[in-house]
Structures are given as structure tokens and as C-alpha cells.
Amino acid sequence: MREFGYERALDVSGAVALLAEDPGARPLGGGTNLVDLMKTGVERPTLLVDVQELPLGDIAFTPDGGLRVGATVTNSDLAAHAEVRRHYPALAQAVLAGASGQLRNMATVGGNLLQRTRCGYFGDISKPCNKRTPGSGCPARAGEHHNHAILGASEHCVATHPSDMAVALAAFDAVISYETSDGPGESAVADFYLPVGETPHLETALPPGALITGVTVPPAAVAARSRYRKVRERASFAFAIGSVAAALDVQDGVVREARLALGAVASRPWRARTAERALTGGPADAEAFAAAADAELAAAEPLADNGYKVTLMRNLVTAVLTELAEEAAR
């Protein structure tokens, strides 16, 4: 049988040492994605470093009033946390929109950020995939791609990032911290996922052997008025075909600040900065919201069967921003 080692790490430095020693080692959180991929042969780690016992399971305020979420906090605990729900409702909603109750009880924040695409070609080792086997080709462009990327993709890969949580984190300027054998490091969520280009197999800015230790969400008053909405092909337990994390500060009918990130449209959570710029200082009405969405989606390059996502995202952005504006007016 395909053998692999298993070590339970008791402290971060021990975990990092184990990961540094063996390039085939992978950290194991809840295992909700990694173990599945091991069963299908997509992932073949030589060593699993179980990080669930590490002291990274807390959610705490930072001195400046932001939140620090440990890497091994489960999705369920994050979504249920009273301060998260109060200050960053879109984050709690995004986490709750993911997977199923059973999976959320197991899945961790670190693992959620590092989960792999659910592209059907990626998950089937009998088929070519540039992300899994660089240079083997991408059958999705000419094949089944109705739930693939419309933004930031390349001819080498059109897969989307599956996380809901990361979309909300992108909207809130969250920063991922990690530890390596050479010391700690950090990366904004917006920069964490690498552009696809010719190297779709290189997915994140995480250095080799690094372990994610947590996520810091900076304080933002606007985040308290935020929302996450996800559209999927069944009512629960499915990945998004389009999602929106949005926060809106409206005063006297004018948008003072807007945060907008889109999910299921790109290889990473798509921070919609073009739309944010278009919104800021403008009227808080549906027409302006739709125009902002159009500005962001002008860069979309849909394939034969995923053009609906342009319409979907335009409608979804408009609807969510309209709801937030209506709430602000109350």
C-alpha cells in the first residue's frame, strides 16, 4: 500500500522542523480536503504533520481592535464566535455557507486557506491537468467548465479557488501569518494566492515548509455592516458558482467606503478594487452598484459555458449592495 508517515506536532517549532525536513510533508488539520485527495491519489504526502494539537486554537482581539484567528480554529468555532458575528458578519456568514455541519466541525482556518480547487479534471488522476501535473494540459477550457473562472485565468488553467471564508477575508484586508524554520512571515490574503499565468501548480506565496499559524483581520468599522451571499447548485453542501462578500458605509445616500470581494470567479478570492473605486463617493443606488459591478467585470473573459457568471455576479453584487444600502438607510 501507499505508505506515509504520521507525526503529531506539539509545538509550532516542532511542526515547522518536521515540515522543513521532508519536502513531501504536509500539515494535517481537519483533513477534510487533504485526506480526500490522498484517497484519490492527487496528493501523495510522505509525511503528515498533525497540527491539530498546536496552541493555535484561539480567537482574540488584537491591541488595535482587530481579530487574531488561530490556524487550528475550526470553521464551526469561527462562525459561531460572538465577536466575529458582531464585527465581521460576512466572515461568519461565509464560513457557515461552506461545506456541511460535519465538515465545518473538522475543517480548520489554515486548511481552509490551503484547500485545492474542485475542478473535476484536477481531482481525477487519469486526466491531464496543469495544476496537478505541470505541462500535461488543461482539458477544462475545451471541456466541462461551466463552474470555472471568468477573471484572472490563463490558457494553462481556469480553475477557481473553492474557499468561501477566504473571500470574506480578502474583503477585510486580512493578513495570513506563517512560521518557517527561518522565522515568521506574513502575507496579505490579497497577495497570498499567486497569479495563474504559466504556473498554475504554484498556488500560494507560502514558502516551502512553512506552516500557517493564523489570520489577522484588521479593525474596520465598515466590516460590521457586511454580508456574504453565495449562489450554488443546491441549497447546501456545494461549492459556490458565484459569491460576494461586501461591506458598505453609506451616509446621506453617498457611499463613504465599500469593500467587495467575489468568489468562484478566479483562482483566488477576487478583491474587486475597480468596483470599490467606482462606488466610493458615489450614490448608494442600484444603478451605481450595477455600474460598479460592470466596471469590475469588464475584465472578464468567459469561456463557452460560463458566461452566465458575468450576469450572475453583476446581479449578485447589485443585490447584496442594495440590501446593505437599504439597511444603512433604516
Binding site: M1, R2, G123, P139, E144, S236, D305, N306, L312
Partner: protein
């Protein structure tokens, strides 16, 4: 959420709600399934499937794999035992996929090319994945579309009557006041039973003993005997607990592989399929392309009826998804035509899957009927009521009991159908447009010859031996009730043995005929035993046994159209800006003869209706044209309805007593799914004003349709 039937008077065990007799064993894990029964010296087989969609095997490079840890054997076309596939089985000639490792030809992606047997399942899998198979690949065709040049009319044995026709269709259509002429499509769908297919085979005292998960042990035993040229009495197949079948659990490559390996290795061999392997090895429902043409007079009476269906099959075996059969008994017209066409592609062979024919057929037909009601300006129930046939539209035979209207009436009352505004696109609740729809359902009520034995024991207990298959439906519990009433004793005195080919032949769990067939045999034997015991005298230590065989009684049954009926009602909410569809309510009312066990019957019907919802909104196997294989061959990619998709769902029935029927039971295995997808699609139309004729009704399709409708509306000249 369901409600209980209140209007039925129950005097015996039949008709009263009873929990499954093996329920405790199942929830505590004490019930063992075919893949978990321990054996000493058990070896494990792992199938290797082709990675090309068409071609020839050039070489199976098994030498390195034979050296891998634990490997006992590698079977493939160059070394496997020969089997005979040129026999006629109980349901026709065998699917050649069971003739594994007999030749080098590969007719589809996922065809079995080798079996690796090892000491452990993990070792077998590792070796199977390491096995290099080289192919001479040939171009493949997996494209299923209207107008495929290869389409042909299927004949026997796949289908007795592909076409039926009476009257002058063109003439009647020309005269019709209202015409509907539309195309409908359903995708490839898979059974995905919870328990994967699994078999353990061994030779025991000169007999082949197979522990399996199937829908009929006599059936599988006879197929194995034919395939391996064995005396039928030397094959025993047992299947005590089955985690779902839905039409997919007959003879499949895994049993054949296990038998081959145990024969060579002289030790028990188990072969279990993976979920991914099930997609290409155990059958599926063919996609369908259907065209329905209806012509009605001003009163909504059908004058012209045409239902044509195209489905696919493999290049090695014929299977027809008989979608156009449903109209042969549902609706009559002066001119009436039905037809089936088939196209051979480089894909696995489809098979029976929950209400074969009726399921996709009723989607097309009951959608078209709804469109006709719209054109005629009639309520959909009223249109259907005006078109209830007097006799079988094709057969001309009388109906035994056609209780369709009672289902409509009870369903309309419970659903609150009266006063429904037929106009679409008018009801809004926040971002959701709301609509309601309904559809009719029917499924044949047949019986298959069965034998049973009932034994009275000196302690006052009884053992019923009936080779039924309890595939999760509660067959064992149903037979307890049937026997208790026939023997006029309490159910706690009855023990039922089933799922063992040594019990003698009985009908399979299929065709919605299981309960009707088995109950008939059990009742005959139990009636005779009761009369015997009534004569007095003591029961000897070995007991008193009576036996029955229903072959004659079934043969003597008058020729009639015998069906169960139903009415499906749905309320849908649609957000046309995101394409999301939610089914808020489903109500199914059925007329299906005597309901043996209301508890398990309701489960079966609600399960079928849930599947219909899943079919309407979610299920779709996607094939990749380039490789010829699936891109969503697991339950993450192949969506079935989740709990959150199933909101308020209710199933119930009307009294459906037929004094002329010797059994009274009609069977409820399949009718629950029939018509549900149409009822939902009709509700989506009522909500949005857009017809969805292609399943599943996915968000991208709803969005595209809404966009099209919007553009059409914008292009229409003002004031038109």
C-alpha cells in the same frame, strides 16, 4: 415532514405501521453487509479499468506488479478463465461487461481490464494503481445529440415494440385547435446506491457460495451458473442486507471477478467497487432527447398524440430507456404514436434505474400536457380529467382500477390548488418568484412468479422462507405482516428468511413487483398451512411446512391494464437574478392498492419524490468529449439533493381497493419519482413564465432563460 393517513381502518398487521424488524441491527451496526462479513484467509481483489474510451489492449505489464507486497494474482484477458456470455438470462442476454477479461477490445472508458488480488485491500489497490496497461487507442464517439447519424430503431430482445401508431397524426394535428410541439431533454443519471457493489465468493463443499449485495439472489445465481457453465444447484448466492439497489444491482463485473479469483486461488475473494468505478460498471440512466407533439380540440380533448424518445446505448449491448411508453397507457387520442430510437456510442451500457421510462418520459409528457393546458386556457387538472382513457390507448385492454382522478382530487384539496391563478410570473416574495405546478404519475403493477415455504414450529412460531430481496425498502417487515394476517397470528410469532437462492426462486426486487409477487406466494403457502393446522393435531418437532408457487395463478390472471397512479404537486420559488430554484412544498397522493406498511411505504414514496426533486434540479453526470470519461464521478461532483433542498414534503394515498385483484397490493417501489420533475418544472414556469425543457434546471440555465426572455420582451414592438 409528513402527516398520517387517518381514513384507513386497520384490523390486521397489513395496513398498520411497523418499524423494520432488522432496524435495530442496522442502526447498531450488527447487520453485516456483503463487504464486511469476515472470512478466514480472505483475499481482496481490486479492478483495474480502462483509461481509453475505445481501442485494444496492447499489453498488460503485470510482471512488476506480481512482485509487489501481498499480491497473489493479476487476472486479465490473457490469463483469465473463459466464461460463456452467449446465454439467455432471466431478463435477456447478459451485458457483455460481465464477460470480463475475455478479449483485448476496450469499448468504453472504465471497462474492466484486470483484477489484482492481494492479501489486503490496500495492497490490491496499490498494485492495481501501479499496473501499467498499454492500449492502441482508436477515435471514440461519445456525443449524444438530436439527429445523430447513427440513430436506429431498436428491436428485440432490447425492446418488444419500439413503435406504436394508430390514426393519421398529421391530419389530426392540422385540425387541432391547440398544438404543443416541443423538445425535452434529461441528462445521464446514476443510481449511486449508498452501499457500493460488493461480493465475496468462495468454494464450499463443491458449491460456489457468493455473499453479495443484489436485488435478487436467484437471478444472480442463475446468471453466474450460466456464465461459468455450472450446474445451477451448485451455486448459492446470499444477500441478507442491501444498502440500496434502484435497478443497478444484478450481475456486474465484481461478482464475476470474485468468482474467477476464488476459483484460481482456492480461498475466499472479495471485490468491492469504488464510487468512481460504479459510474462505469453498474449501469446508469441514459440521457434522453424527447419530442412531444400534442393536438387538442377547443375543449382540450387530445386528438393527436406523439411522443418520440432518443436514448443511448453502448457498442456492446442494447438497452432502451423506454421513455415513450408512459403515454401508451396515460393518454388516448384519435391519432396516437409513440416511438423509441437508439444511438450506439463508446460509453458504458445504461440499465434500469428507478422507474425506467416513466421517469424521463413523464418529465417530457407531463410538461407538455401543462403547456397544452396553458394553450387551451384550462386548469392542468381539468385538462387531464378530460383525457382519462376508457381503455388502454395502445393495448385496447380494460383498466383494472384507474384511480387517477381520486389522486387529483385529494391532492388538490390537500395542496390548496383551488382558486389558483393560472397566469405565470405574478407572485413575488422578496427576491423569490413563486409558482405551483402539478403532474400525473403512473407505473405498471405486475407480478412475477415466486415460490414460498411457511413452516409451523411446535413452539407456536412460524418461519417464512421467501427469496425476496430487502434492498432497504422493508421487504422483510412487509412479509411478516402478510404472513401474520394469513396465519391469523400476531406478527411477533413470524420469522422471515430471505435473500438466499437456496430458498428457491422468487421475483426480484424490481419493476415495483417485489411486494406484490412475494406477498402472493407467502399468502398462498400461509393460507394452506392455516387450513392444515385448523384440522387439529400436534406439530411434530421438524414442524409442518407448506409450499407455494404462484406461476399458475399469475398465468391465469385476466389480461388488463394494471397500474398504480399518483398526482404530484409542487411549489417552487425562483430567484431569476441568481438562477436559484427552491422547492418549498411537494405533495404526492397515490393510488397503489393495499399499503402493507404505512411507515415504510411513506419512506419509499418520500424517497422517490425526493429523488424526483433531485432529478429536476441537481442530478447530471457530465462526460468529457475529449477523453470519453466522466468529470464528476463522485458524490462531490454528482450532486444529489441535500437536506436543505427538501423543505416540506408529504406523501399519502387514497383507498384503492380492487375486489377482483387476487393480491390487492400494487407496489410502490417506483411511482414516487414519476412526474415530480414535471410538477417542479411546471411550477418554475408558473413562477417565472419561462419553460424549462432541459434537466436539471440549473442556475446557469435559469439565468440564461431569464436573460433570453428579457431580450425577447425588449425586442417585441411596443403595443404588440
Amino acid at each position: 415532514m409528513t402527516t398520517t393517513t387517518e381514513n384507513t381502518t386497520v384490523t390486521g398487521a397489513v395496513g398498520s405501521a411497523r418499524t423494520r424488524v432488522e432496524g435495530r441491527d442496522k442502526v447498531t451496526g450488527a447487520a453485516r453487509y456483503a463487504g464486511e462479513i469476515p472470512f478466514a484467509e480472505l483475499a481482496h481483489g481490486w479492478l483495474v479499468l480502462s483509461t481509453v474510451a475505445r481501442g485494444r489492449i496492447r499489453s498488460v505489464e503485470d510482471a512488476p506488479v506480481r512482485e509487489m507486497p501481498g499480491v497473489l494474482a493479476v487476472l486479465h484477458h490473457e490469463n483469465a478463465p473463459r466464461v460463456d456470455t452467449a446465454y439467455m438470462g432471466m431478463l435477456g442476454p447478459p451485458n457483455p461487461v460481465v464477460g470480463i477479461f475475455q478479449r483485448d477490445r476496450v469499448p468504453f472508458m472504465g471497462w474492466p481490464v484486470a483484477l489484482v488480488v492481494a492479501e489486503t485491500s490496500e495492497e490490491a489497490r496499490a498494485a492495481a494503481e501501479a499496473l501499467v496497461v498499454r492500449y492502441d487507442e482508436e477515435p471514440h464517439d461519445v456525443g449524444f445529440f438530436a439527429g445523430h447519424a447513427g440513430a436506429y430503431t431498436p428491436g428485440e430482445p432490447a425492446m418488444e415494440q419500439a413503435d406504436t401508431e394508430k390514426g393519421d397524426l398529421e391530419a389530426r394535428l392540422r385540425e387541432a385547435a391547440h398544438v404543443v410541439d416541443e423538445e425535452y431533454s434529461t441528462p445521464e443519471e446514476h443510481h449511486n446506491s449508498m452501499e457500493p457493489h460488493a461480493a465475496t465468493a468462495r468454494w464450499e463443499d463443491g458449491r460456489l457460495d457468493v455473499l453479495d449485495s443484489n436485488q435478487g439472489t436467484s437471478w444472480v445465481a442463475s446468471e453466474l451458473a450460466s456464465l461459468f457453465s455450472l450446474d445451477p444447484s451448485s451455486v448459492r448466492v446470499r444477500s441478507e442486507h442491501v444498502g440500496g439497489g434502484f435497478g443497478s444491482k444484478g450481475l456486474s463485473p465484481h461478482q464475476v471477478a470474485a468468482v474467477m479469483a476464488t476459483t484460481l486461488l482456492h480461498r475466499p475473494v472479495r471485490v468491492v467497487l469504488t464510487r468512481r468505478q460504479m459510474f462505469s460498471l453498474v449501469g446508469f440512466r441514459s440521457p434522453t432527447l424527447q419530442r412531444v407533439t400534442l393536438g387538442a380540440d377547443t375543449g382540450g380533448r387530445l386528438r393527436a398524440f406523439d411522443h418520440q424518445s432518443l436514448s443511448l446505448t453502448s457498442t456492446v449491448h442494447e438497452f432502451v430507456e423506454p421513455s415513450a411508453n408512459v403515454g401508451r397507457t396515460m393518454y388516448d387520442a384519435d391519432a396516437h404514436r409513440t416511438g423509441h430510437r437508439l444511438v450506439r456510442l463508446d460509453v458504458p451500457t445504461p440499465t434500469w434505474m428507478r422507474a425506467p421510462g416513466e421517469t424521463p418520459g413523464s418529465f417530457a409528457l407531463e410538461s407538455a400536457i401543462d403547456e397544452l393546458a396553458e394553450k387551451c386556457g384550462l386548469d392542468p387538472i381539468e385538462l387531464r380529467a378530460r383525457n382519462q382513457p376508457e381503455a388502454g390507448p395502445v393495448s385496447g385492454l380494460p383498466f383494472s382500477r384507474r384511480n387517477q382522478l381520486a389522486c387529483f382530487e385529494e391532492g388538490a384539496r390537500r395542496f390548496g390548488w383551488a382558486g389558483r391563478d393560472p397566469r405565470p410570473g405574478l407572485r413575488r416574495e422578496g427576491r423569490w418568484l413563486l409558482g405551483t405546478g402539478m403532474a400525473a404519475a403512473s407505473f405498471p403493477a405486475g407480478a412475477g412468479a415466486s415460490t414460498a415455504a411457511v413452516t409451523a414450529h411446535p413452539d407456536g412460531g412460524f418461519t417464512v422462507g421467501i427469496n425476496a430481496a430487502d434492498i432497504g425498502t422493508g421487504a422483510r417487515t412487509a412479509m411478516v405482516s402478510v404472513a401474520a394476517d394469513a396465519l391469523r397470528v400476531t406478527p411477533d410469532r413470524i420469522r422471515v428468511r430471505l435473500g438466499d437462492s437456496d430458498l428457491g426462486p422468487a421475483w426480484i426486487a424490481g419493476g415495483s413487483m417485489g411486494t406484490r409477487s412475494w406477498a402472493w406466494a407467502v399468502r398462498l403457502a400461509a393460507d394452506e398451512l392455516r387450513e392444515l393446522l385448523a384440522l387439529g393435531g400436534s406439530v411434530p418437532p421438524e414442524g409442518i411446512t407448506t409450499r407455494s408457487d404462484t406461476s399458475e395463478a399469475i398465468g391465469a390472471l385476466a389480461q388488463k391494464e394494471r397500474h398504480a397512479y399518483g398526482a404530484q404537486f409542487a411549489e417552487a420559488a425562483v430567484d431569476v437574478t441568481t438562477g436559484e430554484v427552491r422547492v418549498r412544498r411537494l405533495l404526492g397522493i397515490f393510488a397503489a392498492g393495499t399499503i402493507v406498511n404505512p411507515l415504510t411505504a411513506r419512506s419509499q414514496l418520500v424517497g422517490g419524490m425526493t429523488w424526483g426533486l433531485s432529478m429536476a434540479l441537481h442530478e447530471e453526470a457530465v462526460r468529457d468529449a475529449a477523453s470519453g470519461g466522466y468529470v464528476n464521478a463522485d458524490l462531490a461532483g454528482y450532486h444529489v439533493a441535500a437536506h436543505a433542498d427538501v423543505q416540506h414534503i408529504e406523501a399519502d394515498w387514497v383507498d384503492d381497493h380492487d375486489p377482483e385483484d387476487p393480491v390487492g397490493i400494487k407496489g410502490i417501489g417506483e411511482i414516487g419519482i414519476v412526474g415530480v420533475a414535471a410538477a417542479i418544472a411546471n411550477a418554475v414556469w408558473h413562477a417565472t413564465g419561462v419553460r424549462h425543457r432541459r434537466l436539471p434546471i440549473r442556475p446557469d440555465r435559469v439565468l440564461a432563460a431569464a436573460e433570453e426572455a428579457r431580450q425577447r420582451a425588449a425586442e417585441e414592438p411596443r403595443g404588440a
